[in-house]
């Protein structure tokens, strides 16, 4: 694992990070293809008891233990390794919050990779919970030849003083100039800045409101979780989310045994079945044990901060108190607990 990481990111003298994400993806693809054929990773049939089990929050402790035992047995067999499914309760007096420094982010996407490895996402089809948007600097042109390139364009009927040209910025589009699939030789690039987006763990989550069966709900620490055994796959939550944070298991997820993280939580990173929704849980299996989310640990430039919003001494609270902070798409009024800030 550590060797892998060293291969993937070569620290260079000037502080730039050489990225070989293509290699990483290639490796992932090969691994996925290899294990798709291996019998060890084929999904085991779900028992009748599991198919008939109720909503996790409404189960008695005994029922929860049984459900967890069933899952541990099934996963251990499927992935040929001892798998634990924890039911660590939410700690008291904690409201998890996240702060991301966009002036530091170099767009290396090590957070994406760490997230995929930690949270047992399907490798094929590839599911990633974090999406890093690349935006070009200087989105304004003063070049004379671009003056009439924009929209609305000048009219043959005359401009009447109200038409604007390309000098006012490039044509309209909702962040239409963000690149989701950039593949540079090196990051950071001189002419770009980066904006990672993942579940914003809203205090007023539109997804929770939309779920017809309450399969997705807010836990006591403010994390929006999903009971993968209760989700009916209607995807109303995916429509409701203004952050495009939710991913659907369109097919049977393929997770190579050797890449599977056996330390799981029922509401967190346990392997998901086909036909259900999944998304970032702030690495619930880690943070309920007092550890940092995988993306926070993976960030090579320290752009990601995480902590308890109720604790005035926490790193997140200090960021909120001292930095220029904003929340993404505040107009949706969902009150995210994910903050962006600048130095």
């Amino acid at each position: 694992m550590s060797e892998d990481k060293r291969e993937m990111v070569d620290e260079q003298d000037d502080g730039q990070v050489k990225e070989s994400r293509r290699d990483f993806l290639k490796k992932m693809g090969v691994a996925a293809a290899a294990t798709a054929a291996a019998p060890a990773a084929t999904a085991k049939a779900v028992s009748i008891a599991e198919a008939l089990q109720g909503h996790f929050e409404l189960m008695s402790d005994e029922q929860k233990q049984k459900a967890i035992a069933r899952l541990e047995e099934r996963y251990s067999e499927q992935f040929s390794k001892q798998t634990t499914v924890a039911n660590t309760p939410a700690p008291d007096g904690v409201l998890f919050g996240y702060a991301l420094n966009i002036s530091k982010c170099i767009g290396c996407r090590r957070c994406v990779e760490a997230c995929v490895r930690e949270n047992n996402q399907s490798r094929d089809p590839a599911i990633q919970w974090i999406r890093v948007l690349r935006m070009e600097k200087g989105n304004v042109t003063f070049d004379a030849k671009d003056l009439n390139a924009g929209k609305p364009s000048s009219s043959s009927l005359g401009d009447h003083g109200i038409q604007s040209g390309g000098h006012a910025g490039k044509p309209v589009g909702i962040s239409g100039y963000t690149d989701h699939y950039y593949e540079p030789e090196q990051v950071p690039e001189d002419n770009a800045f980066y904006f990672p987006v993942q579940c914003q763990q809203c205090e007023k989550p539109a997804c929770v409101k939309a779920c017809p069966v309450r399969a997705t709900y807010r836990d006591p620490n403010g994390i929006v979780v999903i009971d993968y055994n209760w989700c009916i796959g209607c995807r109303m939550c995916q429509l409701a989310c203004p952050y495009w944070a939710r991913r659907f298991n369109w097919g049977e997820p393929v997770l190579p045994s050797e890449e599977m993280n056996p330390k799981t939580h029922y509401l967190g990173n346990r392997p998901r079945p086909r036909g259900v929704m999944e998304k970032c849980t702030f690495c619930l299996q880690r943070v309920r044990d007092g550890r940092y989310p995988a993306c926070v640990e993976a960030c090579p430039v320290g752009a990601r901060k995480f902590g308890n919003l109720l604790d005035p001494e926490s790193e997140v609270r200090k960021v909120l108190a001292t930095k220029q902070v904003f929340r993404f798409k505040e107009e949706f009024n969902t009150d995210p607990k994910f903050f962006y800030y600048m130095d």
């Binding site: 089809p125 909702i174 989701h180 209607c234 995807r235 109303m236 049977e252 036909g275 949706f332």
Partner: protein, 422 residues
């Protein structure tokens, strides 16, 4: 006849009724069998593709995280159009007391019944976990009422299904027995059904417009658009059905009935045009981010312009029939232009659902990606499967109902004894 005897005879006769009804319904000429055979072809192909989808998952459809609604749910919205519009057959008879439509009201209820069932099938194909559908049954699972808009749809669709099922079978059964209906029971049921038709459709519109993240759906004109499209597409189907019925069966349908529905189509199309103009003006004049999906449909985006021809075609084929149907001669061309125009309106509004309403709405995604939807063959086969099953059901129920209405299907004892005596 005493009450007891009535109950005793009533408990024996439903089976005879069902037998007589369906043995009449499956009899017909070569054209009739040809039609059913044609539909059966899609059923057989669809059984295989259904198996593929149910065992492999929704990955066999064209849906992605970017465009998360597929052809199934797009078609569902259309079935809700027709199911809601079916009350247009009932309203003239029961609210305006039109004599020429009294007999036909039951056909409207059959359309409603069938299209709700087709719609529910589409919803099942849309669900990622059909095996967990029971999670949404109140009592058994958890019903997130009143927060989730989908729970309202579950309530209104199933209620509408139940109302129409009861109304249709009660009316036909009583006609079969030759007994008068209990109007104290039947009339209130019909009035509830009349109110419920638009209701299912308004709720369906709210399911879409409740999504703040999808700008082109988050508009107050959506229920108006849906109801006017229902009026146009539903009435088109009714005219086509009625023209076929009066050509091939003994059931009399007056020209005045057809004229009523062509009027409804004209003014529904007029309303659609108004709704589109309001929406396009509001979005395009200010030209904010909210207009991005619409601009994507009109102009494309950096060469991604697959929706542009569909958009232009849909708009043309909504305006053109409107202009044509303003002409009385065309409205009365029962055997030539009118059925052609009705088919065009029906198909245009069907195609409008995925090609204009649903798929382009997902571009740009909340994070600004533009994408074009590519339906898969398996998905298309499954859509055709559901439509074929629905049309087989519609054909058989309508045929059987015509038999009951014309008196060809009736209780043999009623015939022998000349009216109801045991």
């Amino acid at each position: 006849m005493t009450m007891k005897q009535q109950i005793a005879s009533a408990s024996q006769k439903p089976i005879a009724f069902a037998r007589d009804f369906f043995s009449y319904a499956i009899k017909g000429g070569n054209l009739y069998y040809g039609w059913l055979l044609f539909l059966s072809f899609f059923v057989i192909a669809g059984l295989f593709t259904t198996y593929v989808q149910m065992t492999t998952g929704l990955i066999v459809t064209g849906a992605t995280d970017q465009i998360t609604w597929e052809l199934f749910i797009s078609n569902f919205i259309f079935t809700a159009h027709i199911a809601a519009a079916a009350v247009l057959v009932v309203i003239p008879a029961y609210i305006y007391k039109r004599k020429d439509m009294k007999e036909l009201a039951v056909l409207g209820e059959i359309i409603a019944l069938t299209f709700v069932i087709i719609g529910l099938n589409f919803i099942f194909y849309h669900m990622g976990r059909i095996d967990r559908a029971w999670h949404a049954i109140p009592g058994l699972g958890i019903f997130n009422f009143p927060s989730s808009m989908l729970t309202y749809d579950i309530i209104v669709l199933n209620t509408y299904l139940a109302i129409n099922l009861v109304a249709v079978s009660y009316l036909l059964y009583m006609r079969y027995l030759g007994q008068p209906m209990n109007t104290k029971f039947y009339t209130p049921l019909i009035y509830v059904a009349v109110a419920w038709g638009p209701l299912i459709h308004i709720v369906t519109a709210f399911i879409l417009s409740s999504n703040a993240a999808i700008y082109s759906w988050k508009t107050a004109v959506l229920p108006f658009a849906f109801l006017s499209m229902a009026g146009a597409s539903g009435s088109s189907l009714v005219i086509l059905m009625f023209l076929l019925i009066r050509k091939f069966s003994k059931l009399q349908i007056a020209d005045s009935v057809i004229d009523f529905f062509s009027q409804v189509i004209v003014w529904s199309l007029g309303l659609i045009i108004l709704v589109f103009i309001s929406e396009f003006f509001t979005e395009l004049y200010s030209g904010t981010h909210h207009a991005a999906s619409l601009e994507f449909m009109i102009d494309g985006h950096h060469g991604l312009d697959a929706y542009v021809p569909w958009f232009k075609m849909t708009m043309t084929l909504i305006v053109l029939p409107f202009i044509l149907l303003l002409n009385t001669t065309i409205r009365k061309s029962y055997n030539s232009l009118l059925p052609v125009i009705c088919s065009v309106v029906f198909l245009t509004i069907l195609i409008e659902k995925p090609a204009v309403l649903v798929f382009p709405a997902f571009s740009p995604t909340p994070l600004g990606e533009y994408a074009v939807y590519h339906p898969t063959l398996i998905e298309i086969c499954n859509v055709l499967f559901i439509w074929a099953v629905g049309f087989i059901m519609l054909t058989l129920l309508t045929k059987g109902a015509i038999g009951v209405l014309t008196g060809e299907v009736r209780d043999s004892k009623t015939v022998e004894a000349g009216g109801g005596a045991k």
